[in-house]
């Protein structure tokens, strides 16, 4: 039987890559899932076509997961490896948990993009290149000796050479656009090609083009639309593609969906929390990659009464939020690791003054400036432990783009209930990735109870309720004038106190308040049995890869379960007991082993780290392999060229 994608082929060849025959041509094949990666120069508009393709797939009812991957330079030298920008999307007829390990179809707009991404393509996958870009000069910039699209070097792939530059120019020769403007349309040609190959309608994209350019730049809108159609028609007519692929609708839970990124989710979670609390939302922040989109999103919500303040620095971002919280707003600040470091002292002030505050850290590669546009999970210690003094606060880690909404909403709920700052940890991966989101109905959500005292006779600034929270008295209330600040306070009265016993008591009260804080949502997400040979224990944004790996292992008969922690501080109340029901515990993390150290310290359990610190999320296969190695008694290591996470003693 034909080993290619053609299930009913009777060609008799055993060559995986046998050329299309008449029999194959214009067939349509259903596949369960496809991963496509659009790559080009950072000025080529690959993020746009990737996003647009994802939108269309989501609208068609597929489950999707996306991964934008772009350089930190806005415009690195054109044609170089450093300037390559990519956008990967997996879309499927079943649940999707990651943007895909291996690429089925790569669209490469130039040699550098091909060179930087070829390794991600599965053997036999499509490699669609813009052949006009494979000139001597471009090949040299990419570091190629010869021309990879000539000869046999890509023989293991289905290479499709499309003269995108020429066909785009040809399509637009009477458009009246300048050569530069025409050049900018070519990304839509590649989108047209892919839309045909995967049987996607053009209408949503045409609608998008019209909405974006139609009014202001009608000529540009017409050109992009024409080029999109040209790409589609080219694929239909030309014989490059023997077959069209179909990915059926996914069976998602019934309801109304939209596509959401993690940063959008955070913004929507915060504004929803404010609404549920009957509060104005105040967001004080300083631009920082990859958190800035939260500020952008909230700045555009003025009609909902949201006050955004682009501060002069990270400290002012949180300082303004603390001031707004003191004034009675639901206040939040957002940043990434280096900004979190700058906010540290002010977080301590919020802990000491016991004011509600949501602090979002969209983690990126560190330390220092690190890898600004890449993902990492290395700020767990910073969030949980990284302050002077005994300075506890709840920490919630979002597990997916849509879960960022929940995490932000829960953080606000806890902050108000317990009068405490709460950290939300997301990461560059889930912040920029997108997935379908079952849109919550506002009327189904629980209101957030807020109490502001008004009775001077019973008011004491540092008295506590049953949850250990002090009263949130706000300026303007007659008779409740009081002073708060960073100096230690006397229990109940809130007057300054340097008394040793009082300080010990206050430290304990603050610690107990956080330790006893009840989760406002799921503290963890379990996949699989309560007891097994192996537990994959993760936290936050690695949820998708760990879940997919667990399902794959279970299908292969491995005794395994997964637990993804959302509440990293305080840890889920039953975690210690739950861990005892597994023979082995493997902790995959995008750091050198932070959760695993907390787990080992707290529960005296021999949990094993599995570390990856490469600026990229886990692939499913990496976790599957690590799990198998762990069950074989090895300490799994991510790649052979990476040092072991924990130095092992001799012998």
């Amino acid at each position: 039987m034909c080993p290619s994608d053609f299930p009913d082929c009777e060609c008799g060849t055993t060559d995986t890559l046998h050329p299309p025959t008449e029999q194959h041509r214009k067939q349509s094949i259903s596949v369960p899932s496809v991963t496509i990666r659009f790559v080009g120069d950072s000025g080529d508009g690959m993020q746009l076509v990737g996003t647009q393709f994802s939108d269309v797939s989501a609208l068609m009812g597929n489950d999707i997961s996306t991964l934008p991957d772009y350089p930190s330079e806005i415009r690195a030298p054109a044609g170089t490896i450093a300037g390559v920008s990519g956008y990967q999307v997996q879309f499927a007829s079943s649940d999707v948990f990651t943007p895909g390990d291996e690429v089925d179809t790569l669209v490469a707009m130039n040699p550098a993009a091909l060179r930087a991404n070829l390794a991600s393509v599965r053997p036999g996958g499509h490699v669609i290149v813009n052949e006009d870009a494979f000139t001597a000069a471009e090949l040299k910039k990419a570091g190629y000796q010869g021309n990879p699209i000539e000869g046999e070097s890509l023989a293991g792939y289905r290479l499709v050479k499309v003269p995108i530059d020429r066909l785009t120019a040809e399509t637009l020769k009477t458009s009246g656009l300048t050569p530069k403007q025409i050049e900018r349309c070519k990304n839509f040609f590649s989108l047209g090609v892919i839309c045909w190959l995967y049987d996607r309608p053009l209408e949503p994209t045409l609608h998008y083009i019209d909405a974006k350019f139609g009014k202001k730049l009608p000529a540009v809108a017409a050109a992009n639309s024409a080029v999109l159609r040209a790409g589609y028609d080219f694929s239909e007519t030309a014989e490059f593609f023997p077959v069209q692929y179909k990915v059926d609708k996914a069976k998602l839970k019934a309801g109304k969906y939209r596509k959401v990124t993690g940063n959008e989710g955070v913004a929507l979670g915060l504004v929803t929390a404010a609404k549920l609390a009957g509060k104005q939302l105040f967001y004080g922040s300083y631009p920082i990659t990859p958190a800035t989109d939260i500020l952008h999103n909230l700045a555009d919500m003025k009609a909902h009464g949201v006050v955004t303040f682009q501060a002069e620095d990270e400290i002012a971002g949180i300082g303004s939020a603390i001031g707004a919280s003191y004034g009675g707003s639901l206040a939040a600040t957002g940043t990434s690791g280096p900004g979190m470091a700058l906010k540290t002292e002010a977080i301590g002030l919020a802990v000491m003054t016991e004011l509600p505050l949501v602090i979002v850290n969209v983690q990126r590669g560190g330390p220092s400036t690190g890898l600004p546009t890449k993902t990492e999970q290395s700020d767990l210690f910073q969030a949980v432990l990284g302050r002077n003094g005994e300075c506890p606060l709840p920490v919630i880690a979002a597990t997916s783009p849509s879960d960022c909404f929940n995490a932000a909403l829960e953080a606000a709920t806890l902050a108000i209930k317990y009068m405490t700052p709460v950290v939300v940890l997301t990461d560059g991966y889930i912040a920029n990735s997108a997935e379908p989101w079952l849109i919550p109905n506002i009327s189904d959500l629980q209101p957030i109870k807020v109490q502001h005292p008004t009775d001077p006779a019973t008011y004491h600034p540092y008295s506590r309720n049953a949850d250990g929270a002090r009263p949130w008295a706000i300026p303007g209330t007659p008779g409740l004038e009081h002073r708060i600040g960073g100096l230690e306070k006397q229990d109940i009265t809130g007057n300054l106190s340097g008394d040793p016993a009082n300080h010990h008591r206050m430290v304990q009260l603050r610690a107990e308040k956080v330790a006893n804080a009840k989760p406002a949502g799921a503290p963890w997400i379990w996949t699989g049995p309560e007891s097994a040979d192996l537990l994959l224990l993760g936290w936050g944004g690695t949820y998708g890869a760990i879940k997919a790996a667990t399902l794959e292992l279970q299908a292969a008969g491995v005794s395994v379960a997964a637990c993804q922690i959302r509440y990293v501080n305080p840890l889920p109340a039953d975690l210690g007991d739950a861990l005892k029901r597994f023979k082995k515990i493997l902790v995959p993390e995008l750091n050198l082993g932070q959760l695993v150290m907390l787990i080992r310290a707290k529960y005296l359990i021999d949990a094993i780290p599995f570390s990856k610190v490469r600026g990229q999320p886990f692939t499913v296969s990496e976790i599957v392999r690590a799990a198998n190695e762990c069950l074989q008694g090895k300490h799994p290591v991510i790649f052979n060229d990476a040092p072991a996470a924990v130095a092992t003693s001799e012998g």
Partner: protein, 339 residues
């Protein structure tokens, strides 16, 4: 005393005092600032419950504890950030910042810059004693060069900055200077500041009796003061001296001291409303020992405040979308339904 359901009775200065014991050193200039502040608040009928004093860290930043208003003693240098957020969230409140030369100009210099530039409607009391007091006597950003302190045993090397030049340089709409010992003048300046709409930046010379005693002596001692200070009053010539015989005039762009009798029509007339701030900046550059130290309101102009502008935008956005519903925001532009 106060009753939430009735209008507050007219308050006396003492009604603004909290029950906390004031713990500044005996003879500290801060006492006078506290007293004059209470006095003008009482005079202006400011409601205690609608007033917040925010401070950073330092001797002067203890100020909020001694006021029976709302108060927030924050962290070093960051009072402008907290006060800005508070005012943006609650434009209805009277927000004051109590800060010192180290707090406002060293660790908090960046925040002060942006507060003034944005013209947030709040008042800044900058207690300038030209020394770090709370940490026991190190040179500050305003300490005269060559001053011997514990951290500069051979004399400080940093050139001091002029807080009012700084404030004017970043667009201050209200910049003034007074002196803790000059009770009447301080009261006048504070009252002007309280009435200003926008960031009112008030530098107050205040003697640290422990670590920098006498640094303002030439400006405060009775027999020296008249010859070493000049009081700027809007619309009046800059005349000073025991006999009011000396004045300041401009020689091209350079100020110089002349005898008033010889140049009666050339004496610079103070204009606090001058649009470019050039004259106020020039005034802020004059200092002892070459010139008399200027006091008064250097600049007082009207400009939109950030808090007003922020709500203008919000109200405009709300007016443009009167039916903005959160549910439609959550739905976004593209949705699909699965059965």
């Amino acid at each position: 005393m106060s009753n939430a359901t009735l209008p507050l009775p007219t308050l006396k200065p003492a009604d603004y005092a909290s029950d906390q014991e004031v713990r500044w050193c005996p003879g500290c200039g801060d006492y006078s600032v506290l007293a004059q502040t209470k006095k003008i608040l009482a005079k202006l009928g400011v409601e205690r419950n609608n007033t917040v004093f925010v401070s950073g860290i330092g001797c002067s930043s203890r100020f909020p504890y001694y006021m029976n208003t709302y108060g927030f003693h924050s962290i070093h240098g960051r009072a402008p950030t907290i006060a800005s957020g508070l005012k943006l969230a609650r434009p209805d409140l009277n927000v004051w910042i109590a800060t010192g030369d180290g707090d406002a100009l060293a660790i908090g210099g960046n925040h002060m810059l942006h507060l003034i530039r944005r013209n947030v409607n709040l008042k800044v009391l900058l207690f300038n004693n030209r020394i770090y007091g709370l940490t026991k006597g190190q040179y500050s950003p305003t300490t005269a060069k060559g001053t011997k302190t514990k951290s500069s045993p051979m004399g400080s090397l940093d050139a001091p900055m002029r807080p009012l030049s700084f404030a004017l340089g970043v667009g201050s709409t209200f910049a003034a200077r007074s002196m803790a010992t000059d009770v009447k003048h301080l009261e006048y300046v504070l009252e002007r500041a309280a009435k200003h709409v926008g960031t009112a930046f008030v530098e107050i010379y205040q003697n640290c009796v422990i670590f920098n005693d006498g640094v303002f002596e030439s400006m405060s001692e009775k027999d020296l003061k008249a010859d070493h200070t000049v009081y700027a009053e809007h619309g009046k010539p800059l005349v000073f001296g025991k006999n009011r015989d000396k004045g300041i005039r401009l020689n091209r762009l350079v100020p110089e001291i002349v005898n008033v009798a010889n140049h009666p029509d050339e004496i610079l007339v103070h204009d606090e409303r001058e649009s470019t701030s050039a004259q106020a900046f020039l005034l802020s550059n004059l200092s002892q020992p070459d010139f008399p130290e200027p006091f008064g309101v250097f600049r007082a102009i009207e400009r939109d405040t950030l808090d007003a502008l922020v709500y203008d935008q919000i109200h405009a956005a709300q007016a443009a979308k009167p039916d903005a519903e959160l549910q439609s925001l959550l739905n976004g532009s593209e949705t699909w339904v699965t059965a």
